[in-house]
Amino acid sequence: MYYYIFDIKKCKKRTLVDDIKNYLSTLGISGEFAYPSAAYTTEELVDLGLSKKYNTIVGIGGDEIANKIAAKLCGNSAALGIIPLEASSDLEDLIGAKNWKEAAENLRFRKINEIKIGKTANGSAFLTNLSLDLKIPTEVTIEFKDFLVQAKASALTISNFNPTIEKIGPDYLDLILESVDPHDSAILSKISLFFGGKKNENANMSLFRGRSLRLFTNTQVPLTAGGEIIAKTPQLIETSDDNLRLIVGKKSLYKCQE
């Protein structure tokens, strides 16, 4: 019933692999274990698991492996389980488990939440956040259905799930943008601050919601999810048409207005 795809790189201690396996056996939810390698990618292992008729594919690792499995399972009747190892706190909040033991227990109860996932036009997916990897403030243009947003961004994140923001609908993405004055040089702003000028950080923050958006930058900038580059600008980013069946615990912070 359970097909585990184990990201060994996330195991700091070799004994952790055995500890997790033993704990899953104790809970009565042991299954087949597979490990991504040069021979089999995570995506290929998901296909293999599905071909063997497993109804639960579990990613053991960080955001990277969870996103890859989510992209393959979206629209499939098989459920996704996640046992976090060095995962982001947002992913832990999404599944409602702060450590691998809690996550393993959640798998046993198999509470399923059907959610949309964020997708890029190149087929990559993100369960939580997709960030524009900016080294310096960069001019960005974001095209929504009815309007265009232009700004010099110092940070930009597109969230499918962010525990600090309540989603306005299951198929909406939240875009959080931190902007700087396009006419202000770093030196001038430092001088201004030195002479008592106020830096109003909250006023620099923007929040937009949309089902789909196009992101443009003057030069190509990478988009990262879980620390991994999954796409580059210009890019179309939208929510999936299909649902992902995600196993969550009672402590999951996923909430939606609709």
């Binding site: 265009l148 006023a203 620099n204 929040l207 937009f208």
Partner: protein, 152 residues
């Protein structure tokens, strides 16, 4: 982004930051806060907060509107419009309740929905109570119908 938590607690669906420019029409069921520039229509079913640094060129429509920045265009508040001392409106306003604070700028025409109805009623021509003059009427009756004699 460390400030995320703080500004998300404002219970606003859309926030336009200080150095952000929007071109097009922004419509939201929830509340909108504008601190940047908008060239187009801004419409919300809830509250619209126009900050001190905001500049909007286009009509704005919401249930409750608070203006601390600049609007060039029609401002339509279903319930209440409040223009703060730093607020500047260059355009007509249509609001059920209107509050203009000292120091605010308003150049335009103000219409209150209830008053507008009453004005429209008053402007309607009154129904004339002309009476038909018949051939068999006496000269006194004709004069009476034509209003030559005042009724006592």
């Amino acid at each position: 982004m460390a400030q995320e938590k703080e500004f998300m607690e404002n219970n606003v669906d859309t926030i336009i930051g200080i150095n952000v420019t929007i071109k097009g029409n922004l419509y939201n069921k929830g509340s909108i806060q504008v601190n940047g520039s908008v060239d187009g229509e801004v419409k919300s079913d809830e509250n619209l907060i126009i900050g001190e640094t905001a500049q909007i060129k286009g009509p704005v429509v919401a249930r409750v509107i608070e203006v601390s920045g600049e609007v060039k265009g029609l401002v339509e508040a279903i319930d209440k419009l409040e223009i703060q001392p730093t607020g500047r409106i260059y355009g007509d306003i249509n609001a059920k309740t209107l509050i203009i604070k000292e120091g605010a700028t308003f150049v335009g025409k103000s219409i209150m929905p209830g008053e507008a109805k009453a004005m429209a009623e008053a402007a309607k021509p009154k129904e004339e109570t002309k009476q038909e003059i018949k051939a068999e009427d006496s000269i006194e009756q004709i004069a009476d119908k034509m209003g030559f004699f005042s009724k006592k």
